[in-house]
């Protein structure tokens, strides 16, 4: 019998610290699969950010740099400028990317920095215990919006990937989700596409992936998947937001 599918080679064989059913793990595996398939283990550098995924430098068996909260795109820029031939990607949560790291992400896009941001959007600060993120949904209850996110006081969910897509330096922006086998395969394709564009030096690429946080959403893993599809995806429709080296450009959907 042939091994058909096993843990990707670039993943260390250690258990992950994520909560049961948290889809961070799925996204990690997808990245690893793409690196394996593109045979980039020695050519890839990952930049870990600060959030639940902050220990993922232990999980990927590739060169890794662990950035300060929000600064992964700047760190990736530093690496890429020295080693323009390498695949450089960041892995960032919505708190990391859309709050404290807003400027670093936007300016990486403005510069058309040849890096890829893998943006894990679960609409909440997972690591720190479920505070409101700029991506949290209207009326969503979190530990810092205990009465529900009041849009009058705190605004509407940020349009982050849309902003990045707006910049000329951004050549590819897609939003996907990891809620079932089909969408997981689609996410993998998006990651591969972004990596390929990066290696062809086309410019800045981002894949936003809707994921879960069962723990801080207060839902069990399956309910969380459902909530993601019903609520999160409604706010953040999946699809290609920009593909300036390809064809369709969907920008502001409103």
């Amino acid at each position: 019998m042939k091994k058909v599918i096993v843990k990707p080679k670039v993943l260390h064989n250690i258990p992950w610290h994520y909560c049961p059913g948290c889809t961070h793990g799925i996204v990690h595996r997808l990245i690893a699969e793409v690196i394996d398939e593109m045979d980039l283990q020695k050519d890839a550098v990952g930049v870990a950010s600060v959030g639940c995924s902050c220990f993922n430098y232990d999980y990927f068996d590739i060169d890794m740099s662990a950035a300060a909260h929000g600064r992964a795109p700047a760190v990736a820029t530093g690496i890429k400028r020295v080693q323009p031939g390498r695949l450089v990607f960041t892995y960032q949560g919505d708190g990391d990317l859309c709050a404290i790291g807003t400027a670093e992400a936007i300016h990486a896009a403005v510069r058309g920095e040849n890096i890829t941001i893998i943006f894990y959007n679960n609409g909440i600060y997972g690591m720190t215990g479920g505070q409101m993120a700029p991506t949290s949904l209207p009326d969503m209850k979190t530990t810092t919006s205990p009465y529900g996110r009041n849009v009058q006081e705190t605004g509407f969910p940020i349009k982050m990937t849309e902003m990045l897509a707006l910049q000329e330096g951004c050549v590819y922006a897609e939003r996907t989700k990891v809620s079932n086998p089909a969408s997981i395969n689609k996410t993998k394709k998006a990651i591969r596409k972004a990596f390929e564009l990066q290696l062809s030096r086309a410019g800045f690429t981002i894949v936003e992936i809707l994921g879960t946080c069962p723990t801080n959403w207060g839902l069990d893993p399956l309910q969380a998947i459902k909530w993601m599809e019903e609520k999160l995806e409604k706010q953040y429709p999946t699809g290609i937001l920009k593909n300036s080296k390809g064809d369709s450009v969907i920008c502001d959907k409103k």
Partner: protein
């Protein structure tokens, strides 16, 4: 009198609540008390633990350096903390979740099948209160009434209907510990 107790288990077992309620009860009895939870990334992957120190005198260091009781609600917790208990101290094991016992032979070994008994009471969630009942029995650090009062004061009135269940749990815990 000074008690240093470690409560340990996984998230969802109500570990923090056990500690907090005990601390509250100690306050109601005008004792000195400190509650110290573990926190942060330790809690990813599901482990949870906290310590309570109760004393008649000022509590200086907030760290339980010489715990005289470990309440181990699941297997990894036992492994993690069993060596911390002082000689002559006690290890209370949730025997519904842990099939072995500690290898230490210089401590008192106690068991309570907290989940099983809770299920019998009709609500697995009160396993923690059952274990807490055992703690009261083993240490006498506060009275059951104080615990009930603490629960009452910390719960919103609309939740007071669960008090009888908790009281029953405490009692079973103190009776059935062995």
């Amino acid at each position: 009198m000074r008690q240093e107790i470690i409560f340990a288990g996984f998230g969802g077992q109500g570990i923090m609540l056990m500690g907090k309620v005990l601390a509250y009860a100690a306050m109601l009895e005008n004792k000195k008390v400190i509650f110290l939870p573990s926190y942060g990334s330790e809690m990813r992957g599901g482990t949870a633990n906290c310590t309570v120190i109760i004393s008649d005198d000022e509590i200086e260091s907030p760290i339980a350096e010489n715990p005289n009781l470990l309440v181990a609600m699941n297997r990894p917790s036992l492994q993690k903390f069993e060596m911390n208990v002082i000689t002559g101290g006690c290890i209370l094991i949730n025997s519904s979740m842990i099939d072995q016992h500690t290898s230490r032979d210089d401590v008192i070994k106690k068991k309570i099948p907290a989940n099983t008994l809770a299920a019998e009471l009709g609500n697995e969630k009160v396993a923690n209160m059952i274990a807490l009942g055992s703690v009261l029995e083993l240490t006498g650090c506060v009275s059951k009434d104080s615990i009930i009062l603490a629960l009452k004061k910390s719960l919103a009135p609309r939740h007071h209907d669960i008090l009888p269940l908790n009281k029953a749990a405490l009692e079973i815990g103190s009776e059935r510990v062995e």
